[in-house]
């Protein structure tokens, strides 16, 4: 039997049992829509995480203190107070780099008039603006002069300015109190976006020297101030690996450590990105897997209905065989029917899944900014192909049963 005729007969037969066909298709629709929406959200989350990490600057290498080890007892990574301002100065001398130091491990209460907020305090060197890709909305960033003079000046994150002043206009020049000390606002950063602990708009910057000697106070190690992180910016992406090697060599030399016993950790932006990508990949596979199960359930629904259909139409199969249908003709007839069901479900499911993921993109989850779902052509093709495969797989058994019927017995069946 020719294909277009098979298609027409399949559509007619499905049309004859409208409600049943719709319910069967619905199983596939839900499965495919779930796959599309879940993959879309997973991809969207990945894209948003990636862009957020990239917005913090590229070509970055982070040096952080390692864990202390006393008598074999390891304490938490980053707790060793062994990273100093002198290390930062030495690292800055390496080729292809600009290095800046910062103290990040403190929180501070910021007060303006009757408003106050608790936020992360960053004590940074002037170069931090460049390595952190910070853009000012108003005013200026911390200068060398302010650094040298240990000035009481502060640059506010966009969110902090909003919280304290209700707007970002006219904030520069005002005085705020950090832990009781009066600081002059010299700049407000442009909004960068971000959520939760990654929210880059919810922090304030003061000169590193001010933080070490006036606000936080500081431990000292080998005659130099202890800092919590050194950020190195490599000249470009190609030199990052070389910079990591050089920095590692230099730090081992300065700290007199050997590989395996380092008291510092060097990571790159790429490491962070890889870790985040791996997490979101796992998430995507997990969500997709759950959605795939509902597609499987839809497939079982198709098989169930096709078995019923074959039984109901035993007499018809007998007649078709009597007038010359071969096994293959009957097989194809029922396979085409189950594949039409699943493909129809697949196409509707793609549309529905796309719509659902767009809607979910509008909803803000837990107060964080919304994820923009990414529904790629590949996931649409995948879902369509997969739904057809489901129809084929779950249609084969019923269709084979139909094809195997003996004409005499099938004709006798009422």
């Amino acid at each position: 039997m020719k294909l277009y005729r098979l298609l027409i007969e399949a559509l007619e037969s499905l049309n004859a049992n409208k409600l049943r066909s719709i319910l069967t298709v619905l199983g596939i629709v839900i499965g495919v829509a779930a796959v599309i929406a879940m993959l879309g959200i997973g991809r969207g989350a990945q894209a948003s995480i990636t862009s957020r990490i990239e917005s913090m600057g590229t070509n970055l290498v982070y040096v952080t203190p390692g864990a202390t080890s006393q008598g074999g007892v390891q304490s938490a990574a980053g707790s060793a107070g062994t990273l100093t301002l002198d290390d930062a100065d030495a690292l800055a001398e390496l080729p292809n780099v600009s290095a800046v130091a910062s103290v990040t491990n403190s929180f501070v209460q910021v007060v303006y008039s009757s408003n106050n907020t608790r936020t992360r305090l960053m004590g940074v060197t002037p170069g931090y603006q460049e390595v952190g890709s910070l853009t000012l909305e108003d005013g200026e960033f911390i200068s060398e002069a302010a650094q040298n003079a240990r000035s009481l000046v502060v640059v506010l994150g966009n969110q902090v300015a909003q919280d304290l002043f209700g707007s970002t206009a006219g904030v520069v020049g005002q005085k705020v109190r950090l832990n009781g000390q009066p600081y002059k606002v010299i700049g407000v950063l442009a909004a960068k976006g971000g959520t939760g602990f990654m929210n880059q708009d919810d922090q304030v910057f003061i000169p590193l020297s001010t933080a070490l000697y006036r606000l936080v106070g500081g431990a000292r190690f080998r005659g130099s101030s202890v800092i919590s992180q050194i950020t190195i910016k490599a000249s470009d992406a190609k030199t990052v690996d070389q910079v990591v090697q050089e920095a590692t060599r230099l730090m081992r030399e300065r700290h007199e450590t050997v590989e395996g016993a380092d008291d510092f950790t060097i990571t790159t932006q790429q490491d962070t990105l890889d870790a985040a990508t791996q997490v979101s990949d796992t998430l995507t596979v997990f969500l997709g897997g759950i959605a795939g199960i509902s597609l499987l359930v839809g497939g079982i629904g198709i098989m169930n209905i096709m078995l019923t259909t074959v039984t109901e139409r035993t007499h018809e199969i007998g007649l078709r065989k009597a007038v010359g249908a071969k096994r293959q003709d009957i097989l194809l007839q029922f396979l085409v029917e189950s594949m039409v069901l699943s493909l129809l479900g697949g196409l509707i499911g793609v549309a529905l899944g796309w719509g659902a993921s767009q809607m979910m993109g509008q909803v803000q989850i837990l107060g964080s900014s919304a994820i923009t779902p990414v529904v790629g052509v590949d996931s649409i093709l995948l879902a369509t192909f997969f739904s057809m495969a489901v129809g084929l797989f779950f249609g084969i058994y019923p269709a084979t049963r139909a094809a195997r019927l003996q004409p005499v017995e099938a004709l006798r069946y009422e």
Binding site: M1, K2, R5, E12, S13, A16, H315, E316, L319, R320, K321, A322, V323, G324, A325, K326, R327, Q328, D329, Q406, P407, V408, L411
Partner: protein, 236 residues
């Protein structure tokens, strides 16, 4: 045309063997009109299924047009049915979902060599010939019993078979409509020389044929010419 040699058919019901045919032999020449008679259980339905290539004999040989059908595979049998045999059933066996025309075209759908245009042309022609030119796009359920049987006859004729097998073709019809259907079938033999085998238990039907084969308990009880006096020559 039909050459049946000592065929038997034994059904197995669990461990019990039930013989339906116990050695049947006969010839039917091209263009003959033959009635196969017998009571239920006589084996006439089994014989009909074997002649129609719907089933294979347990032993014996069956030559249709010189071809030993008993040795064929399932799909080859389907091809023989498609090309050489037209079936007319007591229950009409039309597919309710399909239009009259599509029902009549069904055997051609499994032929594979014809264009849809040619298929439509042929089915329209044949449906007009059996008097259903106006009803081609109706559903079978909208037709009377006699009209439905005409559709079935159109379906049997569409592949230009050599042999028409009719199983109680008038069994579900009133006597007047039954007579019309018989006239239509006999006319096909007269005008086109089709071989016609009718399975019936109705002596009036059998009397309109040329020859009657009587079955009893799986054996041929009698094989004689039909009494000529009752043959009616009514045109369609």
């Amino acid at each position: 045309m039909i050459d049946v040699r000592d065929i038997t058919k034994i059904y197995r019901l669990g461990s019990v063997e039930v013989p339906a045919l116990r050695g049947v032999s006969f010839n039917i020449a091209r263009g003959e009109v033959v009635a196969i008679m017998g009571q239920s259980g006589s084996g006439k339905s089994t014989l009909m299924n074997i002649i129609g290539c719907l089933d294979l004999p347990t032993s014996g040989e069956y030559y249709l047009d010189g071809q030993n059908v008993a040795a064929l595979e399932e799909d080859q049998l389907a091809e023989v049915r498609n090309r050489k045999i037209g079936f007319v059933f007591q229950q009409f066996n039309l597919l309710p979902r399909l239009s009259v025309q599509r029902n009549a075209e069904l055997p051609l759908a499994y032929d594979g060599n014809l264009s849809q245009r040619e298929i439509t042309r042929r089915s329209s022609e044949i449906l007009r010939a059996v008097g259903l030119g106006e009803r081609m796009h109706h559903r079978p359920t909208e037709l009377s019993g006699g009209q439905q049987q005409r559709v079935a006859i159109a379906r049997a004729l569409i592949n230009q078979p050599d042999l028409i097998l009719a199983d109680e073709p008038t069994g579900n019809l009133d006597s007047h409509t039954g007579a019309e259907i018989m006239n239509l079938l006999l006319g096909l033999n007269r005008d086109q020389g089709l071989t016609l085998v009718i399975v019936t238990h109705d002596p009036h039907i059998a009397a309109q044929t040329q020859r009657i084969i009587r079955l009893k308990d799986g054996l041929i009880e009698g094989d004689e010419a039909a009494p000529q006096t009752t043959t009616q020559a009514v045109s369609v």
